[in-house]
């Protein structure tokens, strides 16, 4: 019986018939990999001592601190202290310098200063994300932050998104990553990053723009086959008129906002831009009014059975990397409906299922790179994240870099082309050849040593016993530690969960 055949047995519920070699020390590495950004020594030991149920409780429970050095790196970032409004105000002051600069060369210098600053803020956003992916003990939460950032995808290159995404991730996505789906929809709906990206900032009575309304139905909630019509898109677009942005800080005493105005961190509901006519959405009448229309519409979308199914399908596809069995999706959707969209409960249904032990699929580029680094430098804190984001970018999955709002593919089929595989081998070589600039403190300073070492206790205790014969024999051919790293990271076992 091969390893994958053993695994298939397990997925079919025949676990008791298995010899223990499939799961050294009782740890199913594939399942463990799925729960986060990549198994490592710490998480494997934890799973071994707690067992799957208690390990899951821990992952779905309250948050745990990052290693202090990683937390210090994060604390040193200015995005930790500046919210979206503050960043936009700073942007405005830099833009004013551009406007008032006299002469071409002065303008060029000022424009470059603005551009560099925006790039720097976005680089910090990526850096913080990667530090948490690499070092957070709460792997499942981090994976869900990525998942929701992909589900409610925003592209960094549009308008001022580069400086809005830090706040979007921190205030809209992260607090609700394991919470209630409806809260997540409301949080993204009231965040400037989403309203700018899908043009709802421009959607106003008499100037309707249906871009966001359509994607809210098609991508975020019901799904394309969820049973809505073009008329529903138009109704929802009307409900969403006046839901936009306003960058003023505090009320202007000269011109107080009209009653019914809501402002929060750059988000604004402006009743003057809102069309108050009643509409029929998904067969239900939404009484014309102000922002309560939006809440009523979001309730309607989130309680629609198609949403439970669509979101469950997306989550299961993400964790399995292949189209999930319909029966599993049904069970998750049932949990979703029963708990009014409790994401943790849906995840529990998934991770307690026999299907969550199914054979591993090809990781997406982000988890391929992050997972490799978690093993190669176990616990040693990378201080320069630039090479890490470069590797992920080269493989075609930059954070917040999806041009279209559908997000990156969740099915491994999207990442298994010839070109992708060869590029992965090249990135494997780059990661495996040495620390590069990973431990630079400032750009250009000499690196403080450190070699990517995969052959640690984690590898020998949990990984090595389940390697295929092919991989073993190829690894034996390695002529140098660098080549061993290339071959290990390129192997089917390392590429997959």
């Amino acid at each position: 019986m091969t390893y994958s055949a053993l695994r298939s047995c397990l997925a079919l519920g025949l676990a008791s018939a298995l010899p223990s070699v499939a799961f050294p020390h009782g740890v199913d590495l594939v399942w463990l990999d799925r729960t986060g950004m990549g198994a490592d020594g710490t998480s494997a030991a934890q799973l071994e001592s707690l067992g799957e149920d208690r390990f899951l409780d821990l992952q779905l429970g309250s948050t745990h601190p990052l290693p202090s050095q990683a937390q210090m790196e994060i604390d040193s970032l200015s995005i930790q202290r500046w919210d979206a409004l503050a960043l936009m105000h700073h942007r405005d002051s830099l833009a004013k310098i551009v406007d008032s600069a006299v002469g071409d060369s002065a303008k060029t210098v000022a424009r470059k200063a603005l551009g560099d600053w925006k790039n720097g803020i976005f680089a910090q956003t990526v850096e913080r994300h990667l530090l948490r992916d690499l070092y957070s003990p709460d792997g499942l939460r981090e994976r869900m932050v990525w998942f929701w950032g992909n589900h409610f995808s925003v592209h960094s290159a549009k308008d001022d998104e580069q400086i809005l995404l830090a706040d979007y991730e921190e205030r809209a996505l992260r607090p609700h990553a394991l919470g209630r789906f409806r809260d997540l929809v409301m949080a993204t709906l009231t965040h400037p990053a989403m309203l700018v990206y899908l043009d709802n900032a421009q959607n106003a009575a008499g100037h309707v723009n249906e871009n966001y309304a359509r994607e809210l139905l098609e991508l975020h909630t019901l799904g394309v086959d969820g049973g809505y019509s073009q008329q529903d898109v138009q109704s929802l677009a009307k409900v969403l008129t006046g839901v936009g942005v306003d960058w003023r800080r505090g009320p202007d005493p000269e011109r107080p906002p009209p009653p019914g105005t809501i402002r929060d961190g750059g988000f604004e509901f402006n009743p003057r831009r809102h069309d108050t006519a009643s509409v029929v959405l998904l067969g239900t009448r939404i009484q014309g009014g102000e922002f309560e229309e939006v809440r009523a519409a979001v309730d309607l979308l989130c309680r629609n059975p198609s949403t439970a199914r669509h979101v469950s399908l997306r989550i299961a596809t993400c964790f399995l990397g292949v189209p999930p069995p319909p029966d599993l999706v049904d069970r998750m959707a049932k949990t979703f409906r029963k708990t009014d969209g409790d994401i943790s409960a849906v995840l529990r249904t998934f991770f307690r299922s026999k299907e969550s032990h199914a054979p591993g699929a090809l990781k997406d580029p982000h988890r391929f790179v992050v997972g490799a680094l978690r093993q190669a430098y176990e616990g040693r804190i990378v201080t320069n994240l630039k090479p890490v984001s470069n590797w992920i970018n080269q493989l075609g999955e930059p954070l917040y870099g999806r041009l279209t709002p559908d997000g990156y593919p969740l099915d491994q089929q999207g990442w298994s082309s010839e070109g992708q595989m060869v590029k992965r081998f090249e990135v494997a070589r780059a990661i495996g050849s040495g620390p590069g600039g990973l431990f630079e403190i400032a750009q250009g300073t000499p690196s403080r040593g450190g070699f990517p070492l995969f052959q640690r206790p984690f590898f020998w205790t949990w990984r090595e016993p389940v390697l295929g014969a092919n991989t073993r024999s190829v690894l034996d051919q390695a002529k140098s530690p660098q080549e061993w790293n290339l071959l290990w990271m390129s192997s089917p076992e390392a590429m997959r969960d």
């Binding site: 043009d199 421009q202 959607n203 106003a204 008499g206 100037h207 309707v208 723009n209 249906e210 871009n211 359509r214 098609e218 991508l219 394309v224 086959d225 073009q230 898109v233 669509h310 399908l313 997306r314 596809t317 292949v322 189209p323 999930p324 069995p325 319909p326 090809l362 075609g396 041009l403 279209t404 559908d406 997000g407 593919p409 969740l410 099915d411 089929q413 999207g414 990442w415 298994s416 082309s417 010839e418 070109g419 992708q420 595989m421 060869v422 590029k423 081998f425 090249e426 070589r429 092919n470 991989t471 024999s473 190829v474 051919q477 080549e483 290339l486 071959l487 390129s490 192997s491 089917p492």
Partner: protein, 410 residues
């Protein structure tokens, strides 16, 4: 989005496909080699498919200049009526249509030489107005009742018929249109590809995947990279030096042209950014910049193909056109009918093909969009059949259940 993982194949079923002539999926060998494939034969027919992702605004590419409604309903985004004295005006093509000025320098000369044709009112029967649903449907190329969840695209089926080694996708990952039984390599050409591994390492990497589901993918991927890297290295060393020049998409297009001239017969590339909901622009602006880039790329591609240009057909398509009326933000929303572009050294260009209707507010589909009068599968089935010399059953394999439009003499 259309989730490729949707197992129940919503609205369409695999069984229907089998009933509708799915035997064609078995790639009958007798249909192969319909095309001569000697490596540098300039006369062997070639095909490049360019997909504009995001829904390109048909009425800005092929401007219905004689329609008063067009100018009235697009106060900010209409392109001006042809006027030789005005560089911002569209370029006259015939009594109804004109060309966007951003395409004037690059593509008008091709139109004048009958090497550029358009089919307006083209598209699908899909009414979801969803980018992702409609793109997947177009890339699959099946009729309305069939969906294989993105596992079989029409370029893959076409390449399977011609020669499984004749196709390539110039993209970082493999799009649905190229997925299927025939293994199509993919390689983006933003930069000149270099050989990544020596022979020994390549062999070890291949061995890692022996017996794995990705065995063929890995093997072919390493070989493709090696072959293409070598080809470009030779090219740069050659004394005659057809060095690739230009920037951005133009440069990529030249590299594509080089590979289509020397090695491949069927290519695919996609270009994004066409979803112009806000500030679409008119003669200048967002959409004009995109069109300008694309036009210059296509013109560079023709230069690079050189003596192979007469045997080449380029098809430019998009998932749907956009609303005929400008929206509230000087942009346009998702519409229906689009326009197909055909370019090639020996096509019957210099004219507008296919069924047409007078462009007017009263003739809009759902009082909103251009109607679809020329279903894309019947147009492409007919045009590709003629160009690639495919018989009826081959066309049936590529576009099952379609009825090639015999009147489409492009």
């Amino acid at each position: 989005m259309t989730d490729p993982s949707n197992l129940d194949m919503h609205r369409r079923t695999f069984l229907k496909l089998l009933a509708a002539g799915g035997g064609a999926l078995l790639w009958p060998r007798s249909l192969r080699a319909a095309v001569s494939l000697s490596e540098s034969d300039p006369d062997a027919p070639r095909l490049l498919v360019v997909f504009q992702r995001g829904g390109c605004d048909a009425a800005s590419v092929l401007v219905p200049w004689s329609s008063d409604d067009y100018h009235r309903l697009r106060p900010n985004t209409a392109i001006a009526r042809p006027d030789p004295a005005d560089p911002k005006a569209s370029a006259w093509l015939d009594d109804s249509w004109s060309l966007h000025p951003a395409l004037g320098d690059s593509l008008l000369p091709l139109w004048q030489r009958n090497q550029l044709a358009f089919v307006p009112f083209a598209g699908t029967d899909d009414l979801s107005r969803s980018h992702f649903e409609t793109q997947e449907r177009i890339e699959e190329g099946f009729g309305p009742d069939i969906d294989l969840g993105g596992t079989s695209g029409w370029i893959s089926r076409l390449v399977g018929l011609l020669d499984p080694t004749s196709g390539i996708s110039f993209t970082a990952d493999l799009p649905v249109i190229c997925q299927g039984k025939a293994d199509i390599p993919n390689l983006p050409l933003h930069e000149v590809p270099k050989a990544p591994f020596d022979a020994r390492q390549s062999e070890l990497l291949e061995r890692l995947y022996q017996g794995d589901t990705l065995e063929a993918t890995v093997k072919s991927g390493l070989k493709t990279r090696d072959d293409i890297a070598k080809m470009f290295a030779d090219e740069m060393q050659a004394a005659s030096g057809r060095a690739i020049s230009g920037a951005g998409f133009e440069q990529e297009a030249r590299r594509m042209g080089s590979l289509l001239r020397r090695r491949y017969r069927v290519g695919f590339v996609d270009v994004g950014g066409w979803d112009t909901h806000v500030n679409q622009g008119g003669a200048q602006g967002q959409l004009a910049n995109l069109l300008g880039n694309l036009g210059r790329g296509l013109s560079a591609l023709r230069d690079e193909l050189g003596e192979a240009w007469p045997s080449t057909l380029v098809v430019v398509l998009t998932e749907f056109g956009r609303t005929f009326r400008e929206n509230g933000n000087r942009g346009s929303d998702h519409g229906h009918g689009s326009v197909l572009w055909f370019l090639g050294g020996s096509i019957r260009g210099g004219r507008i093909h296919g069924r047409q209707v007078r462009v007017a507010a009263s003739n809009l589909f759902q009082n909103r969009d251009f109607p679809v009068l020329n279903e894309y599968r019947s147009v492409l089935g007919s045009v590709l059949g003629r160009h690639l010399r495919l018989d009826r059953s081959a066309v049936e394999t590529i576009f099952p259940g379609s009825s090639p439009d015999g009147s489409m003499e492009i």
